[in-house]
């Protein structure tokens, strides 16, 4: 009897720990560059990447100019991942564009994200605590956060530093797609400040 109670206590402690580690991703409802609205709820059951972006930030350019971000977008969306780039630049601030300019920029750099969401009030950025560009969040199919932080471990804006960097975003997505545990759940993001 004592043993059963101890096991039950251990299981409950485990559940509490799991619940703490598996924080729920905040809900959002944002338009994309065509005005179509996207919510986190509509992607329940899928792995979702939220990639805070500002196309004119040099740390973002580091990933887009050599095509590294687009390659990840193409690779993972082909495996069923939903990839949402989010821009929280306020009107008049760097990275905020009119719809036509968004479309021109996305076409020019060959963006392969599922959608680019415009968060000009910053409501979604603040809910997630997005502080930098790039700053990425990975949401599990059950709506819990699997990862938040930097794309990789090289605090640099030089595309030459992509080679040899540890890519936390790819690691997280590969682990989730393989059904395995995520090794690193949080890192300190680096980059420009979000232009709220």
């Amino acid at each position: 009897m004592k043993q059963v109670i101890m096991i039950m206590a251990a299981v409950m402690a485990g559940l509490v720990l799991t619940a703490a580690a598996q924080e729920r991703a905040p809900a959002f409802d944002l338009p994309d560059v065509d005005g179509v609205r996207h919510t986190l709820a509509q992607y329940a059951g899928k792995t979702v990447v939220l990639e805070w972006t500002n196309y004119d930030c040099p740390f973002v350019k580091k990933f887009y100019e050599p095509g590294a971000m687009q390659a990840m977008q193409a690779k993972y969306t082909a495996q069923g991942v939903v990839w949402l780039s989010v821009c929280s630049s306020a009107p008049g601030k760097q990275g905020h564009f009119a719809a036509e300019e968004w479309k021109r920029r996305m076409a020019a750099s060959g963006v392969k994200a599922t959608a680019v969401l415009v968060d000009e009030t910053g409501v979604a950025g603040k809910a997630y605590g997005a502080s930098n560009t790039p700053h990425v969040f990975v949401v599990r199919p059950d709506g819990t956060l699997a990862y938040r932080g930097a794309v990789d471990d090289k605090r640099s804006a030089n595309p030459a530093d992509l080679a040899g960097a540890r890519n936390y975003l790819s690691e997280t997505l590969d682990a989730l797609l393989a059904g395995g545990p995520v090794a690193v759940a949080e890192t300190k993001p680096y980059g420009c400040s979000v232009k709220y």
Binding site: D56, P58, S156, Y190, C192, K195, Y196
Partner: protein
């Protein structure tokens, strides 16, 4: 004939326009870097002190070794005709900047970073050595600009290490690395004063 003149006028217009744009918004107007060596002549086997000065336009700042919540530290890679041992770069105390990401640390106006390179003992005296510095640095205000530049500098090897050039001492004083009020008998060595 008319077409050709049109092309020439158009080309001239584009060139003038490009020049005007470059003058208006060239990143080189926002920030530049310079490389300095302490000695003109260095004895093989000795450490040659080096300095990099980063100058930024008003309103902008560059970053410290630990930049905090945004930005990036400057990267300086020294190379030469032979593999060289380099000293870690030293950064002066930075100031704090607040932005949406939190607090970052860096420098306004200009900063001098100190480093060094050991000239191998295998190099013969009387040789000229070209040192190259490849720099990556970031400047920000309400937006950020990533800059890259390569600088070169020549030193000669000699039997005895020269004393520091006057310009070197001036640079250290101006940047706060050496006390301004130096006694005639010599500079106090930091960290060695008696308690």
């Amino acid at each position: 004939m008319k077409t050709r003149r049109g092309v020439i006028l158009f080309t001239a217009g584009v060139v003038l326009l490009s020049a005007a744009l470059a003058r208006a918004a060239g990143p080189r107007d926002l920030s530049r870097v310079e490389l300095f060596a302490a000695y003109e002549i260095v004895r093989p086997g000795d450490l040659l002190p080096l300095a990099v000065r980063i100058t930024v336009a008003d309103g902008w700042h560059t970053y410290a070794e630990n930049p905090g919540d945004s930005g990036m530290p400057p990267s300086i890679r020294i190379s030469g005709p032979v593999p060289l041992e380099t000293a870690p770069w030293q950064f002066p105390p930075p100031q704090a900047f607040k932005d949406a990401a939190g607090t970052s640390y860096g420098y306004e106006k200009s900063v001098v970073l100190l480093g060094g390179v050991r000239i191998p003992g295998t190099v013969a005296p009387g040789e000229e050595i070209e040192l190259k510095a490849d720099l990556d640095w970031m400047i920000c205000r309400d937006m950020c600009v990533f800059l890259q530049d390569s600088l070169t500098l020549r030193v000669r090897t000699g039997e005895a290490a020269s004393a520091a050039r006057p310009q070197w001492n001036a640079l250290l004083k101006e940047s706060g690395w050496m006390p301004q009020a130096e006694t005639r008998q010599g500079t106090p060595v930091p960290g060695k004063e008696s308690k």
